[in-house]
Symmetry: C2
Subunit: 574 residues, 2 copies
């Protein structure tokens, strides 16, 4: 067992022979004469060895195993071996598209990539995914399939083995990368952007490009860019898109809104909803997906919607391809707050986004998509529009509580909620006032929306299309080592000196010309304690001050560019 990381939130472990006992629903680790355990803390139950989800330190997402000596094998009638590499984790909320991408699919993609388990060119993984959270397939099951050599395995499949069997995995890897998540859901403080996120536009681009490649969606960034600048082509006309929801949080004047978007953007405007993905695939389910926003902490409460019988990956991929091809053409997106906006990940640079919020919901308090749009390198222009007119909202007090119903509350509580003009900040996951407000339907006020969209498009046109490539280099690059550095002893007019010369680092020419470039030279007499240090702009210099021709000298040179310091190069003594 090899683990790396300092605590459960950043630890990952690779097991050779990790076993699972269906009868006790427990993972077992066998100890014998060839057991090697590396990187496991003594206090591995405080609170856990590692997190099974990218949502950090959530107490329903902990991985534990139980120690057993190898002779414990004799307690089992048979051992079932799973060959090959298995990557095991918990899907956090497999029924919500935002959670599927943000918590699971992108973290799995980057974990596999970092662990050398995914070939980026062919987008094929040598690992099989294993979902340990205990759900059935769920409607987004296939969204994970492209990351796994074989069809992902459910916990249920492990539990179905005989009670007297031990299920052993030759190679198991656990511990999701949290590097790309950008949002926290309000378990310890009200929801908001993750302050520690390291995600960049490059992460999003590498991930979405890979998914688009597996679906054979033509990666038409260049063509569309050209068209946006006026070079019309037949294929891939840019368009404006309205992202809507079909069963709740409705836009009640979609027709007016679409006309307005078309008028302001100048693009043909199309409507996109999740039904575009699911309608063709799961017709019997149409309308039954509640699109629940909040996270259920007890997965047992949620029933599986899809079972094995309706599995149809080819049809699913066709639907997803059509959806994403459509999304890639959106130069302007207007969308009701909701998980469909996760698809902003697939927009081309330079696109414009306006997110719509129902009455009494403060856009600044619920920002998963704003945060996504503003990730450095995404190059999207994002604005929020909020319904400020109580007469334009339709609430559903009598809906089920998880969809915003409040009739189960006391009259006083109901009055408080209905009388409030803004949902106060709250924790996850079932604040009734929040649910009441977020499940409202909205008549979008056209004049105020028009102004927001117009200003977003204007902002976007004024934004200089910064060159991401150069920015990445400038922000990360350090000058390399100086080259061919040497030292020569000289005597000129009876004055002893040493001439130090070198050539610039190999990468110096690539730094911006306006950056300050200089060299630092250190000289030390051999056997002496002190040394002299000089800053120079040239690449050769004759030093004489304080030097003694009876001494030999060591010297070091390094390059500094705009505050970035290159490595010291040690020069052969002279």
């Amino acid at each position: 067992m090899w683990c790396r990381g300092r605590n459960n939130t950043d630890r990952s472990c690779r097991f050779h022979n990790l076993c699972f006992s269906p009868s006790s629903n427990t993972f077992l680790f066998l100890h014998g004469a060839e057991t090697i355990i590396s990187g496991v803390p003594d206090e591995r139950y405080s609170p856990a060895l590692l997190d099974l989800s990218s949502v950090p330190n959530h107490n329903t997402q902990y991985f534990h195993y139980t120690d057993v000596p190898v002779h414990g094998l004799f307690h089992f009638k048979k051992v079932i071996r799973y060959r090959g590499v298995h990557f095991m984790f918990n899907r956090f909320n497999p029924s919500n598209l935002m959670h599927v991408f943000h918590d699971d699919v992108m973290p799995v993609f980057y974990t596999l990539l970092q662990q050398g388990l995914l070939d980026l060119e062919t987008v094929t993984s040598t690992a099989r995914l294993v979902f340990l959270e205990g759900w059935q397939h769920g409607e987004y099951f296939d969204m994970y399939g492209w990351l796994s050599r074989e069809r992902p395995l459910l916990k249920d499949a492990l539990m179905k083995h005989d009670n007297d069997a031990l299920v052993c995995f030759d190679d198991a890897f656990l511990g999701l990368s949290k590097e790309t998540t950008w949002y926290q859901y309000g378990f310890n403080e009200p929801q908001g952007p993750l302050q520690t996120t390291k995600v960049t536009g490059s992460h999003i681009k590498v991930f979405t490009d890979a998914l688009l490649r597996t679906l054979n969606v033509s990666n038409n960034a260049q063509q569309l860019k050209g068209q946006a600048q006026g070079q019309q082509e037949v294929k891939g006309h840019p368009q404006a898109c309205l992202f809507t929801r079909d069963s709740n949080r409705l836009i009640l004047n979609e027709g007016d809104l679409i006309s307005t978007i078309a008028q302001v953007s100048g693009f043909t405007t199309v409507k996109i909803s999740l039904d575009d993905l699911f309608n063709s695939l799961y017709p019997h389910m149409y309308g039954t997906n509640p699109n629940i926003d909040d996270v259920h902490s007890n997965v047992d409460d949620i029933n599986p919607n899809i079972d094995d019988a309706v599995y149809n990956r080819i049809e699913y991929e066709r639907s997803l391809r059509l959806l994403l091809e459509n999304v890639r053409k959106c130069k302007v997106v207007v969308g009701m707050h909701g998980s469909l906006l996760t698809l902003l990940m697939f927009l081309l640079p330079g696109s414009v986004v306006v997110e719509l919020y129902p009455y009494a919901v403060n856009p600044g308090h619920y920002t998963p998509y704003k945060t996504l749009a503003n990730i450095p390198g995404m190059q999207l222009t994002y604005k929020a529009w909020r319904n400020n007119m109580p007469e334009n909202t339709v609430a559903h007090a009598d809906a089920a509580p998880e969809q915003g119903g409040i009739v189960h509350l006391s009259v006083k509580e109901q009055q408080n909620i209905v009388g409030s003009h803004e949902v106060p900040r709250h924790l996850c996951c079932s604040d009734p006032e929040w649910l009441y407000r977020i499940y409202q339907d909205t008549v979008v006020d056209i004049p105020s929306f028009h102004a927001v969209l117009q200003s977003a498009i204007t902002d976007s046109q004024n934004t200089h299309d910064s060159n991401v490539q150069i920015r990445t280099f400038e922000s990360n690059a350090i000058p390399g080592n100086v080259q061919n550095a040497k030292c020569e002893r000289t005597i000129t007019n009876d004055v002893f000196g040493i001439k130090i010369s070198w050539q610039p680092p190999w990468n110096l020419v690539f730094f911006a010309s306006n950056l300050d470039k200089k060299y630092e030279v250190w000289i030390q007499g051999i056997g002496q304690e002190d040394y002299g240090a000089w800053m120079l702009e040239m690449t050769e210099y004759l030093f004489t001050e304080g030097l003694n021709m009876n001494n030999r000298y060591r010297a070091w040179v390094r390059c500094l560019v705009g505050g970035k310091i290159g490595p010291f190069v040690s020069i052969h003594p002279c």
Copy 2:
């Protein structure tokens, strides 16, 4: 680029597209719109991103790369791509068997294993090794070959590409595991055991078993054990072995010594030297290998001994197989201090080792093989014998300095060295007094040797053959979670109480019966701040004290075994 680790000594990095410029002898990392850099510190030149050797923080072993924007590719006439995964490192001292195993081969083996790049059953790696230290093949080149899918690549091969070419590796992994090294060579303090080592007998066993499997050496631990207890078998007779050196540090009375070993041990005694490995393979080299002990800090000074032309892997493997089959039969090893003693790694548990030291060399100061023999789980009995008789030593004052010659020193310095009776502690790598003494030849004093060997064998017979398997479990195992824990409300004789019950952890039966086993129960009234805690030996208890029937209660239970604390299990409130 994905790096993990806190500093250069424990960092490892995986690169997708790591390039090398032969003209500037520099690794380049290209920055573009899809560049992702993870885990790289801002100060990556202070002192380095990572160590290329398992010898930590040695300034000749640093890995650096130079940042270049992708358009820097146009500076090269062509790009040569190396497909597949490459594991790159520096061999530290490829001409010394101890260094080859300890610094390189075992660390490479464990790095590949930890990174999922080595299949333990078939002992085949998907990675190709790349040696970056700059040496030619060296006489132990083939000792690395079994770890690599293809023949290892020398730095020289990269340098031989055209100067206007860029050499790019699709996937490169760097950063050797330091987990298994046990010795430091005296760069900062006199040489000695690494205090931080984590190596165990399991590491040695898994490694040597894998090498023996690749050579088809029958792993006859069980047969030999049986024979040692008197059950004779035809194959694999146990024997005693004298490990000698052929060109220096000679034993001058080998015949007497072999007779003594045979007499004391009762085993047939055979002589084993490195020539057994090399004689058949490289006959033209016989006797030219100086077996230099100390580490050269400047690899440029050392000339390659073997070049491509003499490569003969099949012959090499045959020789190595014969050697290791022979070593596996040694129940008693007597050996002159030197790198051949690295083969102690291959001894069976219960074997006996006596290491011989020349005159004026303190065995306690040079302990790479003592440390190896005493690794927990190796189950070897180790003793040192030292020549205390100046009349029994033959020094070589007129040898080359690196082989102990001192005639290049002043008369005074020579007198000091010859007059000393023990080499003072010293740093690596060229202390003339140390080299003078360690390259002495020795007449082994039979009576004192007889006593040391006899006492080692007696100690070995008195050592209880502890069960490694059980010891590993006891030292690492923690009790698992209690099972089926529940809480029931009761009223007995008008007294309200709650009954908490559970079943022991699944692994409790595997802990030694003499260990203290108990349970800790915490109970907290819902909405209350304080809680009660109890220690119990039973698995069910009726709590009444201070409980109020108007409250509901939460409870937690965990198991403690001999000071090891299992995880708290949370019980459904009652």
